[in-house]
Symmetry: C2
Subunit: 358 residues, 2 copies
DNA sequence: GGGCGTCGTGGAAGCGCTTGCGGTGAGACT
DNA sequence: AGTCTCACCGCAAGCGCTTCCACGACGCCC
């Protein structure tokens, strides 16, 4: 010690003071109590085979008695093993999709590993926050890997991170040139719109989130156009409505659609939450959803079940789990080549909001 | 590094190799490049006033050139300032309430401070996970504070943490003897049930989440009984139904209620998500919600707006923000006494699912 | 014009741990 | 009984920083 404050009477008191809130016992304390050197104590605690069983026991007991916990910084600095730290970068948290995916991610990360991983949360709301994240890299030197959820990462950003030694995987966003787990949004869109087409609808509207920055290119909307084209149906611009993400947005959009001279007989919403808004507007207008007007969404959000909403389900939790496993594979061994990106399947869930045109 | 692979020709190459993925430049590198000692470099980087402006400039330039970032562990070990780390302990993430609260928390934490705080996420699903968390304290020595969201912490657990030097604050759970920010769930319950009573309902059912471990004592249910008692209404056990949290639970519960010989004319659900299920069952049964049967929930979940559900709103985001500020106050200065627990107000939001009894 | 504050800087110790290397004692040999 | 092995253990270096202290160089005063 440098300047022990003129030790008060009784080393007992000093002891009390040295530990106390926050500090905790040090490795030296443990070693002393166990009657060994710090080196041996360290080895015992780290399960090195070279320490005699009896000695290890003594050290472990001493450590337990003192309620000892290694200092992660010291340990890491000295080159010891340490838990892997992963950053989770999400644009939202109050939306079901992100929360649910994170639950899966957490599970995938901790699987069979015990609690050997620290999850750092980075909430990057808008594009600005996102850019700032990759620019200043608050995660730098703090994490071994980063999971980017639900948005696009450009090549420069990826390269930057990889160069700094942090692995990166993407989940729930667009396909990426680096390890990622996604669904095929274009296919999901097709499943939804094709369903409407097969039911016989000719005037199908698109209710799309205008969120420009989330999940990169809007494949779901692209699928709408493609499906119409394949069915030989024209794309009527009046039937394409962009709205803010969420129920109110969907409700407004549906209102606009109903105001048309030729309202659609079916609506494809790019997300269930938007579809929910549409359903509300239709009901208020006294229309029979699934009868007068059909509505289909994407995601299989819990609200879909409540509204009896036909939708295209995507495995959200599973995407998280898969991403978690990827991170473990990346960090725990193989380079970026060791893990294969995955595209998980989606499927149509038939419920009551779709039916043949009136 | 330890075993440099037999240095290839040219120190240039070696240099390249020394830095490269992950490692990055060290303080010494910066100092050397700037032509000063490590001490001065450190001081310059940490904005100590005692270093000459010109020198500081040189150091900063050198650091930028080398893309230098301090090693957080070394810095912390050596007693330097470091960003504060807070653990967020949540039982769920896919439920709107928790996600929304976390968004607020994040905002409250980062406010005006720049990105000077690290958020560690701990997902402790069930009671077991919760106990394990407090037992093994994975957060120990890793965080300066912990925010517990939406569940009760017993005195022993709290004491344990506090002793280890980690401040603890609770948000969105029950009131606690330590800094916490909550709403008055009993009052919220009263607002909901009193509303039904005032409308003239006499047979009011309770649809309560059976989740035993979330948010401690079930004050919302208690409020139901008290409100009935105050109104001179008997509590009919048939009208009290416990269901799993969520829409399907609410739907089932409502089904049970409708099967009664004397079904209720109004239903109080302890959460909007449960209420949503109830509404669905009622609609399917062909009943007019708000006419034949009234339904009121709590939370003002987004689904409430979509369903035109009368509810008691609670400020979720604000609870998070307030908790975030508390953490800052706790860590950045005053002890536990410096911050006052807060109980945020709730208010009835009148919508279409409630009306006088038929 | 030499004592003396100031300012700017370098040297060195040390934060709490891990680990390579060398040393010690107890058997196992010859 | 005198070596040679091992199996264990302690010593000390060092991870990358921060900071106390000392020190040289000025510029100031009386």
């Amino acid at each position: 010690m440098v300047h022990e404050p003129s030790a008060p009477a009784g080393r007992r008191v000093v002891e009390e003071e040295r530990r106390g809130a926050g500090s905790g016992a040090s490795l030296d304390d443990v070693a002393r109590l166990a009657g060994v050197s710090a080196s041996t104590a360290s080895r015992a605690l780290n399960n090195h085979p070279q320490v005699a069983a009896a000695t290890r026991e003594r050290v472990l007991t001493a450590a337990a008695g003192l309620d000892y916990v290694v200092s992660p910084e010291a340990s890491r600095l000295a080159g010891g093993a340490s838990r892997t730290r992963v950053a989770v970068v999400v644009p939202h948290l109050s939306r079901w999709f992100f929360g649910r995916l994170l639950e899966g991610l957490e599970a995938g990360l901790r699987e069979e590993g015990g609690t050997t991983v620290d999850v750092l949360l980075f909430l990057v709301g808008d594009v600005g926050g996102r850019r700032a994240f990759f620019e200043h890299l608050p995660a730098r030197r703090r994490v071994d890997a980063a999971v980017v959820v639900g948005f696009e990462v450009d090549e420069a950003e990826r390269a930057r991170l990889e160069l700094l030694g942090v692995h990166i995987v993407s989940a729930g966003g667009p396909r990426e040139p680096f390890p990622s787990v996604t669904v095929d949004d274009h296919r999901a869109g097709r499943q939804a719109v094709d369903h409407l087409v097969h039911l016989g609808h000719r005037r199908i509207a698109l209710l799309a989130s205008e969120d420009p920055d989330d999940r990169g290119p809007d494949l779901r909307s692209a699928a709408y156009r493609d499906a119409l084209a394949d069915a030989g149906l024209p794309v009527d611009d009046d039937l394409v409505v962009r709205v803010p993400f969420g129920g109110p947005g969907g409700a407004d959009g549906m209102g606009r659609l109903l105001g048309l001279r030729h309202p659609p007989t079916a609506v494809f919403a790019t997300a269930d939450e938007i579809a929910a808004g549409a359903v509300r507007t239709l009901r208020r207008a006294g229309l029979r959803v699934g009868g007068d007007v059909s509505v289909v969404g994407i995601d299989d959000h819990p609200v879909a079940e409540m509204l009896d909403l036909t939708t295209v389900a995507q495995p959200v939790h599973e995407q998280g789990v898969a991403a978690g496993r990827m991170v473990r594979a990346l960090v725990g061994g193989g380079g970026p080549g060791a893990v294969a990106s995955r595209v998980l399947p989606t499927h149509l869930v038939l419920r009551g909001t779709t039916g043949p045109p009136p």
